[in-house]
């Protein structure tokens, strides 16, 4: 057609009308409020979970044949794990861990299997005198807890060693216990291992965002389809099509409804950001003074902005598809018939990233979307194998350097069985003994190792 129909100003006029019609509708307002509440709830989840966590007492059983080892691990674990946070009234504070010795190993195992207790720390002296400490838990792979157990094990190792020294003897070489975290899922980021909590948090966050995007795109897409179908059924289309070109109408409609969607998104995102910005204060109010809000790992401004970009692109794609479908039917009712195949298209788009974000067993290199945080993190470290890090005080902390070997981790592990083994018998000094002195002064205090 030779008629010259520039996109503007008509597309803008259409977009303005579409926008104000959506924003004024009651459905829109209600859904905004509901989604806002949901999103704030999600943002508060880590704090709320910790509130529950705090109320819970984790029962840990210690299994060891030698009394001395049992006493030692109980004492060290108590010292490391039941450490009240600074600034908390010690009299009102309740220890989060109940650490008790259990002499019957099989009974303890049964209890763990039944969920009566949360974890077992087992200390076994092997024939060559090496101590093997195993931390068994039914709960989720809790990096913090197993690390605490690791600290306790280390301290026990040092205690055991110092106790075995003959009185007044010259000090032999202190052999740093090896500390192995054996996890078959060990995502790393830039060569640095990522804490399981952060990984879980990111997975959760990714799922939430994908679902949010899926739902909103589907809803707003349906608005577009219904809008087109309604204009056809109410016969406004006949007047519209003589007043404006189809391109102007389509662009205006998609932009207007997309704008309404974006407004809703901003209305949802702003309170969430506020919660995140003031999470320390909120955590302090809910959990008691001095508690910092556990960050929802990975929920950053960048992620929210990226979500905005993906929403716009995804919405533009689906809105155009939905508009095309809406133009095929002559009544909005007929859309019901077509909405199923449409949802299937959206579903296909939803399932892939959802799968990636959730993580999968196995190691198939295919079927991955690039750019998804967890997945690309895994892909970055293709080598497999066990790794040892030195158990020096600093390296047991969150020292990024300790994982710089490019962690060889296999994917898809069952996170329940994390083993922490301490092997003082290793003769060869570990390669990774950064900052850990090879010789210690006499009578090292165990606490010092926890740094």
């Amino acid at each position: 057609m030779a008629r010259h129909d520039p996109l503007f100003p008509n597309a803008g006029t259409v977009a303005r009308r579409e926008y104000s019609e959506r924003v004024r509708s009651r459905l829109y307002r209600i859904s905004t409020i509901v989604l806002m509440a949901l999103a704030v709830g999600v943002a508060m989840t880590p704090i709320v979970l910790r509130a529950f966590d705090q109320a819970n007492v984790h029962r840990i059983r210690v299994v060891a044949q030698e009394d001395r080892l049992a006493q030692g691990i109980m004492a060290t674990a108590e010292g490391v794990m039941n450490l009240p946070p600074p600034g908390v009234d010690r009299r009102r504070w309740k220890a989060p861990y109940e650490i008790v010795r259990e002499t019957d190993r099989s009974y303890a195992m049964r209890e763990l299997a039944d969920g009566q207790i949360d974890a077992i720390i087992e200390v076994v002296r092997q024939p060559d005198g090496q101590l093997a400490v195993t931390y068994r838990t039914l709960g989720p792979a809790d990096g913090v807890r197993s690390q605490l157990a690791g600290f306790a094990a280390l301290s026990l190792g040092i205690l055991d060693w110092t106790a075995s020294l003959p009185k007044g003897s010259e000090l032999g070489a202190f052999r740093t216990p090896s500390f192995t975290t054996e996890s078959l899922v060990a995502p790393t980021e830039g060569g640095r291992q990522v804490d399981a909590v952060v990984v879980a948090s990111r997975g959760f966050l990714g799922t939430v965002f994908i679902i949010l995007m899926f739902i909103t795109i589907l809803i707003y897409g349906m608005w577009v389809a219904t809008g087109v179908a309604t204009e056809k059924s109410s016969r406004v289309m006949e007047l519209m099509i003589s007043a404006a070109s189809p391109r102007q109408l389509l662009v205006g409609k998609v932009v207007g409804i997309g704008g309404a969607g974006l407004t809703q998104y901003v209305a949802i995102a702003v309170p969430v950001m506020l919660v995140l910005a003031f999470q320390d204060q909120i955590a302090g109010a809910i959990l008691g003074a001095g508690q910092a809000g556990l960050p929802t790992g990975g929920l950053t401004i960048g992620l929210i902005a990226a979500y905005g970009v993906f929403f716009l692109l995804g919405f533009a794609l689906f809105a155009l598809i939905y508009a095309a479908v809406g133009s095929f039917v002559s009544r909005p009712d007929d859309l019901q018939t077509l909405s199923l195949p449409l949802s299937l298209i959206a579903m296909a788009g939803y399932l892939r990233p959802a799968r990636v974000a959730r993580g999968r067993r196995g190691d198939a290199g295919s079927d991955r979307l690039p750019g998804t945080a967890v997945q690309s993190v895994r892909d970055a470290c293709p080598t497999h194998g066990q790794r040892r890090a030195s158990a020096g005080g600093r390296s047991l902390g969150r020292d990024p350097a300790r994982d710089d070997r490019g962690g060889g981790r296999r994917h898809g592990a069952d996170l329940r069985d994390r083993r922490v083994a301490i092997r003082p018998a290793t003769r060869v000094p570990p390669v990774h003994r950064r900052g850990a002195p090879s010789r210690l002064t006499p009578r090292p205090r165990p606490r010092a190792a926890t740094g």
Binding site: A2, R3, E21, S234, R235, E238, L239, I241, S242, A244
Partner: protein, 314 residues
């Protein structure tokens, strides 16, 4: 300037909706576009607007093909009325006018003026779904003319209006014509066409069966009407049984008789007198537009159910 429909052909599948349709409408004229349902009236208007594309031929205004003209050249009142149900009357009027490039404040002022003229100023802030059908139609009419188009295409503008509103709309037509607008309208109401049109065409199955000024059309018609009054009889229905009578309509104190082709009025008079009736009035009348329509199309104007529905065919 002339609106030229130049040998336009449009097919929907195997159905020929318009077959070499050609006529012209001079500027500043109220032009009747008559035809049975499915004759191709709406299709023609849609082609004028560029909503549909002609398979052959083209529509020109002032020599320029209609598809090259700015959209605001035309104002359109669709047969299927359509307004945004949730939008207020004034908002939609301003909206439609802005799509045609009117300034919103100007459009608002004009719209309020027209609402006032149509005696519905209080409806400006009501939502369209709350309006009666007649009022919706008036709003729809304002939407079609607010951007001051040169050519107005009105598809059945008078259907469903009560006599008062009908008179309002008729006055508006004449006022627009006097302001230099060219108005093409289709209708089934022959009295209105007779009262408003200077020129008209009658289409049937996508072809023009008659056209010209009203006077020309009446002169060329073979249809004859005789008005016959009989003393002492208010409704002389027996006149219908006389040979050569095509149709009989009761009038006020007389009967209107449509004659069959080839029958002369005097034959009827003779037959009436032969039966012994006291004839008090005998008059050979100009044929009504309706009579011409029936003669040409072969069926009454609103009997077109078997005709092809354009949209279904599309």
């Amino acid at each position: 300037m002339t609106l030229e429909i130049d040998r336009v052909t449009k097919r929907f599948g195997r159905t020929v909706a318009l077959d070499q349709l050609a006529f012209g409408v001079p500027e500043g004229m109220i032009f009747g576009f008559l035809g049975a349902n499915g004759a191709g009236k709406t299709t023609t208007m849609r082609i004028c607007l560029g909503i549909l594309r002609a398979d052959e031929g083209e529509v020109r205004w002032g020599g320029v093909p209609s598809t090259d003209l700015p959209r605001r050249t035309f104002g359109y009142l669709p047969e299927e009325r359509g307004l945004y149900p949730r939008l207020t009357v004034i908002d939609q009027l301003v909206y439609f006018a802005s799509l045609y490039g009117e300034r919103p404040d100007q459009a608002r002022a004009d719209a309020l003026g027209w609402l006032d003229r149509f005696r519905i100023p209080d409806l400006a802030d009501r939502r369209a779904e709350e309006l009666s059908k007649g009022n919706q139609q008036k709003v729809q009419f304002i939407a079609a003319i607010l951007h001051a188009p040169d050519v107005l295409l009105m598809d059945e503008p008078f259907t469903g209006l009560d006599p008062v509103n009908l008179a309002l709309l008729r006055d508006a037509f004449i006022e627009l014509r006097d302001a230099g607008r060219t108005i093409v309208f289709s209708t089934h109401q022959m009295e209105i066409a007779e009262a408003l049109c200077e020129s008209l065409v009658i289409v049937d199955h996508g072809r023009i069966v008659a056209g010209g000024t009203l006077a020309e059309l009446k002169r060329s018609s073979r249809a004859r009407t005789v008005r016959l009054g009989i003393e002492g009889e208010i409704a002389p229905t027996w006149l219908g049984s006389i040979d050569g009578v095509a149709a009989l309509r009761p009038g006020a104190g007389f009967a209107e008789i449509e004659l069959m082709a080839g029958v002369e009025p005097r034959d009827i008079l003779a037959a009436t007198l032969e039966r012994g009736a006291l004839v008090s009035r005998f008059e050979v009348a100009e044929p009504s537009l309706e009579a011409i329509f029936v003669e040409l199309v072969g069926r009454p104007s609103d009997d077109g159910e078997e005709a092809v529905d354009e949209e279904d065919a599309a």
